[in-house]
């Protein structure tokens, strides 16, 4: 899995709605009504991540879930990161 070029990253970011680039990763914060709903979302993310064998950093703060994606084995952003970001965005 090769690193994306700067141009590719910029293009992918436009398609990955609400994800922000921070250094070598992309991040998005999801806010829910409460902890139960936030954990339901985390569970869905976990299933997608395991299926894709690509696991975001997940920070849970009661009703907030902060996800960070990066391909550590490649040392930065790859297509895998944006593919998972889009799948996560498509969750209900």
């Amino acid at each position: 899995m090769g690193l994306l070029t700067e141009k590719q990253v910029v293009a992918q970011l436009k398609a990955a709605k609400s994800w922000a680039r921070i250094g070598d990763e992309i991040r998005r914060t999801f806010v829910y009504e409460d902890f139960v709903r936030a954990m339901g979302f985390v569970q869905s993310v976990a299933l997608l991540a395991e299926k894709m064998n690509h696991h975001p950093d997940i920070d849970i703060r009661w009703n907030k879930v902060i996800l960070a994606l990066s391909t550590h084995s490649a040392g930065g952003l790859t297509e895998k990161d944006f593919a998972l970001a889009k799948q996560i965005n498509a969750l209900p």
Copy 2:
């Protein structure tokens, strides 16, 4: 829920095996074989937390889960934090 005194915190920490005090919170890192096992643990923690209506900060890094407990409404450590820490320690 009142803040614990310094003396009470020190006593509670001795009983809450493997938790470390960092500022106004207590933290413990749990390491599992892989993401699936780590998420199983997170799910157990979530059930205990919701039952007690006391929710740790949860950071998931593939096979590692970092928990941080503090009673934000009280501005520091209370009995609730140590009660939940002990329940989490008792998980299989």
